[in-house]
Amino acid sequence: MSDQTYLSLENLSLAYGKTTAVKDLNLTIRKGELLALLGPSGCGKTTTMRAIAGLMNPVGGKIVLDGRDITHVPANKREIGLVFQSYALFPHLTVFENVAFGLRMKGVQGNELRQKVEAGLKSVGLLSFAERKATDLSGGQQQRVSLARSMVVQPKLLMLDEPLSNLDARLRLDMRSELQRLQKETGMTMIFVTHDQVEALALADKIVVMRNGAIEQIGTPEDIYNRPATDFVADFVGFENIFKLRDGKLIADGKEFALGAECPNAPGLAWRPGMVTLGEGPFSGTVLGVSFAGNIRGYVLDTPLGPIRAEVDAARPAYTLGEQVAFDLPVASAAPLHRVG
């Protein structure tokens, strides 16, 4: 992994007709990095990916790949691989011919073609399926064919659109480790788009959280998970108790609440349910809901601060519905937010 920028998006703006999809996006990726574009549907992540691939023209900005401005290079000349969410295999061709397509476009023929295609199929464990019709394969197999098809041409950048979302739970784990293995083996720079924070956290070196066509936060999985920059990111990665701060006090329901300790100078604070202490503290609330989840028990409390979600060790005695419970939002464990709303 070098420190040099490999792909950079500079003030990239994208639109569908008059509807702006992405505005002034700036992003850099180093060679060999595995980057996740994370966000809810409609946040512009897929649009950004399509623009990088050349499937849509930016209304403004620049895309530079490997030192070359590719903003106006047509998609078929960009040497970027894309694994579609639907896999987009060619239904009239065999698995072998699907994988061979890109190589044939490059003029690879004969023995060389056969060897490269077979190596590609072998790397995804589908060599024995070479002569089958591509669309006769299962979803997971189709995805691997699609992956091999994109990788055999050795693109400068490989992008994957929701690579795991169409697979069932077990296949998802397999595919996740397979992607990591392939990326490690080939050292290929990869970008994948996902709406699932678990996927992004598990796979990526770097995560870009997007919202409404703009970047909300860029960081390592640890950054995103532990130090969300905004209330949106915090909510997205499971901080369910998010508050605005003013003059060191929590703002809820238009009222101010003093916290037990000195507050950091931040516009907001966020707590995961597990960070809330139950049984002691300056606040109190009524138990609205209890849910048992194996090793932990989750509570919803009705409090002057609004609903508070808490999780505690299930081994502790359970509170019952309607019970008054004291609780604390410990400042020490809270994630300070840089921006709220």
Partner: protein, 259 residues
């Protein structure tokens, strides 16, 4: 008991009503007699053989074949890009085009024929063959657009993008990825167009000239003068030709999936 018999009986009567006349014609074509009659008098192949010796039939068969094949090809050449554009791009006048394209099915054929004669053949001197060709192409176009559109609708658009990303040009992607996948639809459209054109009477009615007549029109003319079983023989031959084509199409292409 009556209820249980009712359904099969109705079905039987319907089939009899639909297929009966056809069976009569087929039976009549093997007649040995001199006139078109049922029940047929005797059994022979003489009228079937005679069909092939009638010069005007041979000529009009050629005209009909030319119109059916040429018209269908022309309709496909116009219809495939039109269907493609309508299915893949949001065009400003897509609905208007779709409507215009289906007009020839809605407008009675006889009016189309008369209009072409009155406004093209007579004043402009357009040849009858050309007028027939234009009429048949227009008539087949709706079928071509419809059937090809149906198979395009079943084809994901992202496979074209996949082809482009793998290095193919847009046009190349159309030929490499789109056409092979709608081959079945195109062949079905061809067969449907061919049969529609070949059996076409109203449009062709006004459009006949010296030496230029479609086969069905020629058959009408023949029957006005000669009332022998050769018409029945020819009708049977044509019916079997159509059935054969459709059967082969269904067998090898799954024709009914597209229509």
């Amino acid at each position: 008991m009556i209820r249980r018999l009712f359904t099969p009986l109705t079905l039987f009567l319907m089939m009899l009503f639909l297929i009966g006349p056809f069976l009569i014609i087929v039976a009549a074509s093997f007649s040995a007699g001199e006139t078109l009659a049922f029940p047929p008098q005797g059994f022979s192949f003489r009228w079937i053989i005679k069909v092939f010796t009638i010069e005007s039939f041979r000529q009009s068969f050629g005209v009909s074949m030319f119109l059916a094949i040429g018209g269908t090809l022309a309709a496909l050449i116009l219809g495939i890009p039109a269907s493609y554009a309508m299915s893949r791009y949001r065009l400003p006048f897509a609905e208007t085009v779709r409507f215009l394209v289906s007009m020839p099915i809605i407008v009675p054929g006889i009016i189309v024929g008369l209009a072409l004669l009155r406004y093209f053949v007579i004043p402009v001197g357009m040849s009858v063959t050309l007028a027939l060709f234009v009429a048949h192409t227009a008539l087949i176009l709706p079928y071509a657009v419809r059937v090809v559109s149906a198979s395009l609708a079943n084809l994901r658009a992202d496979i074209e993008e996949a082809a482009v990303i793998l290095g193919s040009s847009r046009l190349g992607a159309f030929f490499r990825v789109v056409l092979p996948n709608i081959r079945g639809g195109i062949l079905s459209a061809f067969i449907l167009g061919f049969v529609t054109s070949f059996n076409q009477v109203p449009v062709s009615l006004f459009l006949s000239g010296p030496g230029v007549r479609t086969l069905p029109i020629d058959m009408l003319g023949y029957m006005e003068n000669v009332f022998d079983p050769s018409i029945a023989a020819l009708s049977s031959l044509l019916a079997f030709l159509s059935i054969g084509i459709v059967f082969a199409a269904e067998r090898f292409l799954g024709f009914s999936r597209y229509v």
